[in-house]
Symmetry: C2
Subunit: 253 residues, 2 copies
DNA sequence: CATAACTGTGAGCAGTGCTCTTGATTTTTG
DNA sequence: CAAAAATCAAGAGCACTGCTCACAGTTATG
């Protein structure tokens, strides 16, 4: 793949029409900046991301990159969106490789893919699920869209579990009906839930499962519990607990 | 409380013996630096913490504070320890105000205190439970000790639940025995568990509950789920789910 | 073709963490 | 009590950061 083709491929809605050498070069440089920035992010973390260093790596002067990127924060935003998409891709791929009727297996695949991705890209994970970056309020309008991709997967899984009557009773999980409705009733108006039979209690179970899962991954990636003798086994344990919140055991059916 | 008294009080193991004006002043300045730094941390966050700004606020030259604080990272470490202690105090106070026999109430108090503290000190919370700070590996030997204070509370609660036969069956929670033992068996050698009858499966339940609880708080403080119509209600829901993992309903007993 | 838009360069500003020297003050020691 | 040792505030300085601006050159467009 030569530079031009790569540039065209990197373009958002690339018109196949011929591009001037200027537009072509701009896209290539934009892609290069993102590529190098991703590299720096992976090694030095978000706070170590320096526009000047990126510029140096590309052999251009620091002020030059401001022609392509408005500010350091804007570059961070692009990386965040990138990370969301990368995560969503990884999770979706793992999820779709499982027999759709194996609800528990789908949840496990989802959780394991999340964990694997997070361990492989700890800085990207920190970027999207860690503490918000310094002085930088994530522009919701650009990130939440990419961020909901994983959520959408969860919703379909939850809906499939519902129609298969495999969702456990909320009351048996310590989830009272009233607060769940108050907290999540309004959320069900989201188009994401259109056509599904998901009710507030079920959604609460889904949120609880997701929270537990994400907490497990966060805890491991940030090693909040100190050094653990067997982290994978602990994850499997927590994964089981989280699965239990959204889908009943197949054998128990 | 005059400066001298405050300084003496701030001293770690203050010998009541008379101190030279030099040592007295040093302690006062150390306390001042921490005080101002805490203020900056609360308003600007960890990344916005600048030694020079702290120095300015204290009317001294930037290089001066290096007489009292080895580096910015070391100052951060002190603030982290401080935050751990502050959190542990808040949680313990809330926990101890509840009837010891009310196991569920104790868990709820614990969780609510954690949430309240986190919402009141978001930057401190991010410091200890968020992504690790840039280029800064938390010196475990100084933080974990303070960090285990909250854990110790959980352990006593778990042990009390055990001796009251109020711990739910692990298998009913989706927590398989084998991985739990593999992951947590070694941890039970920790002196923290000496004399308790806690077994791996129970510990796994405790870890799961804590993970879910911490995940719920993290999710809210960092608003990972976007704007929620009724965050407190959602927290109560998740709190119920987490409680259900470690202590059975009183009515069901 | 000429004009307008774009792109890379280098200087410069304000800020950061941190080091080092210098001179003054306080504490400890002979 | 005086001299030596430890401590301290101050300022200059280094290397780095994000970011702006004026100044060439290059490309696209009227």
């Amino acid at each position: 793949m030569d530079t031009a083709a790569r540039a065209a491929h990197a373009a958002h809605a690339a018109p196949a029409a011929k591009l001037g050498k200027r537009a072509r070069n701009r896209r290539a440089v934009e892609a290069d900046i993102l590529r190098v920035a991703r590299g720096h992010l992976a090694t030095s973390g978000a706070a170590g991301l320096s526009l000047r260093a990126v510029a140096r790596d590309l052999g251009m002067v620091s002020s030059g990159v401001y022609r392509y990127v408005e500010s350091r924060d804007e570059l961070l935003t692009r990386l965040i969106v990138d990370s969301y998409l990368s995560l969503a891709d990884a999770v979706r791929a793992a999820h779709d490789a499982v027999d759709p009727d194996d609800l528990g297996g789908r949840w496990d695949a989802l959780g394991r893919a999340l964990r694997t991705w997070a361990l492989e890209h700890p800085h990207d994970f920190a970027l999207i699920y860690g503490s918000p970056v310094p002085d930088y309020d994530a522009p919701a309008e650009r990130t939440t869209e990419a961020g909901t991709a994983v959520m959408a997967l969860l919703v379909t899984l939850l809906e499939d579990a519902r129609s298969a009557r495999r969702v456990p009773e909320a009351s048996g999980l310590g989830i009272p009906e009233a607060p769940a409705t108050a907290a999540l009733g309004a959320l069900l108006a989201d188009p994401m839930f259109a056509g599904t039979g998901i009710d507030p209690a079920m959604l609460a179970q889904g949120v609880a499962a997701w929270t537990l899962l994400l907490g497990a991954v966060t805890s491991e990636v940030f090693s909040q519990l100190g050094p653990l003798p067997d982290a994978p086994a602990l994850f499997e344990t927590l994964l089981g607990a989280s699965r239990h919140l959204v889908v009943t055991d197949a054998s128990a059916n």
